[in-house]
Symmetry: C2
Subunit: 194 residues, 2 copies
DNA sequence: GTCTATATCAAGATAGAC
DNA sequence: GTCTATCTTGATATAGAC
C-alpha cells in the first residue's frame, strides 16, 4: 500500500469512491475514518481532500450516484403484461441488490447520516424508484390481474423483502441466482395474487 | 438536565439503557458518544462507567436482552392450525417491530459493531427466533397446507418484509395497526400459498 | 453513586513543500 | 496531485474527591 509521490489522478478518484463505499457499508459511515479510506487506497489522508470537499460530500455523492444508476438502469415497459413487468422488477431488484450490494445497503442505512438537504435530495430519488414498482401494482389492480388491498404498503413490503436477500445470500452457496429469481418471483406473485 | 450530586441508582441504570438504545438506533452505535448518552440521562460521562464496563458491553447487553425478550414473548402452538400460527407470527412480529422498534433495528443493524464473540452469541439468538417461523412453514408444507419451494429462503424473505414496516409506518397516519395485520397478513398468506 | 478533572488517543480538516 | 506536518476538536476511559 505504500505510495511514493506521483500523480495518478485518473484512477485515484474512483479508488477513493470504491474504498469509501465498501468501508461505509461494512462498518458504517460514522465508524470509518478518512485515514482508513486513505490507507485502503494507498494515499495519505490529506490527499482525499483534493477529491472531496469533506466526508459528508463523499457519502452524499456515493448515494446520489447509486440512486441515479438505479433509476437510469431500470426500464419498465408499460405496454407489456403486468406479470411480465413484475417479474422483470424482481429480477432487476435482485440483480441490483447483489451486484451493487454496498450501494443498496448505504442508500437504505446511511440516509440518517446525511445533512437535511442531502437527505431530502436522496430520499426523493429513492421515492421515484419505489414508485416504479407501485405503478406496476396499480396497473395490475386496475386491470384486474392483481389483488392488492393497498399498493403503497405492498410496494414497501415487497422492496423490503427483495432487498433482504443481501442479509443472507452468499454466492457459491446452496442457491444460484436463477433459483433466487424463481423463489422470490413465486413469493412476490403469490403475495399480490398474480 | 443539570444534576446535583445524589444517588439515584435504582433509576439511573434503566435510564442509561433507554437513552443508549434510542440514540444508537437513531444515529448508529459509532456515531453516538458516551457524553451524548450521559447528557440525555442527566449525569456526567464518568458516571456511566459505574453501570457498564465500556461502550461495547452496553451495546451487547441491549441486543442480548432484546433477543431474549423476543424469544420469551413469542408462544407458538404447534397443535394449532398452520394458518392460525402464521397469522399469530405476523401479528407478533409487527407488534414487536413497532413496540420495540429501536431494539429490532439495533438487532439487525448493529451486529456488525459487536466484537466477534458477542456477535456470535447474538446471531445465534436471532437464528433461534427465525427458526420459529421456519418451523411453521415446514409444518405447513408437510401438511400440504402451504406451497413453499424453499422454507429457509421464505423465512428470511418474510421476516425482512415484516420488519420493513418500521421503515415507513408512522402511528397516527393513514393506517391503524389492525389494517397492518390485515394487509401484511394477506401478503404473507398469498406468498406461501395459504 | 456521582462529580470534577484529566490522561490518552484519534478524529476531520488545512497549509505548504515538492 | 500528493506528501508531510500540524491545528483543533472531541472521543473513551480512569482517578480521586465528596
Amino acid at each position: 500500500m505504500a505510495r511514493t509521490q506521483g500523480s495518478r489522478a485518473d484512477i485515484t478518484g474512483p479508488l477513493i469512491r470504491d474504498a469509501a463505499r465498501s468501508l461505509f457499508a461494512r462498518h458504517g459511515y460514522a465508524a470509518v475514518s478518512m485515514r482508513q479510506i486513505a490507507q485502503a487506497v494507498g494515499v495519505q489522508a490529506g490527499t482525499l481532500y483534493a477529491y472531496t470537499a469533506d466526508k459528508q460530500a463523499l457519502l452524499a455523492d456515493l448515494l446520489s450516484d447509486h440512486m441515479t444508476l438505479l433509476l437510469e438502469s431500470w426500464q419498465d415497459d408499460p405496454a407489456a403484461a403486468v406479470t411480465a413487468r413484475l417479474d422483470a422488477f424482481v429480477r432487476f431488484h435482485i440483480d441490483t441488490s447483489l451486484d451493487h450490494a454496498d450501494g443498496v445497503f448505504l442508500s437504505y442505512m446511511e440516509l440518517r447520516s446525511l445533512t437535511p438537504d442531502n437527505h431530502a435530495r436522496i430520499a426523493a430519488l429513492r421515492r421515484r424508484y419505489e414508485n416504479g414498482l407501485q405503478n406496476i401494482l396499480d396497473d395490475g389492480v386496475a386491470a384486474g390481474v392483481l389483488r392488492v388491498d393497498d399498493t403503497r404498503l405492498a410496494t414497501m413490503a415487497l422492496i423490503a423483502m427483495l432487498t433482504g436477500v443481501t442479509n443472507w445470500y452468499r454466492s457459491g452457496g446452496r442457491l444460484d441466482r436463477q433459483a433466487l429469481y424463481r423463489h422470490y418471483g413465486a413469493l412476490v406473485r403469490g403475495a399480490v395474487g398474480a
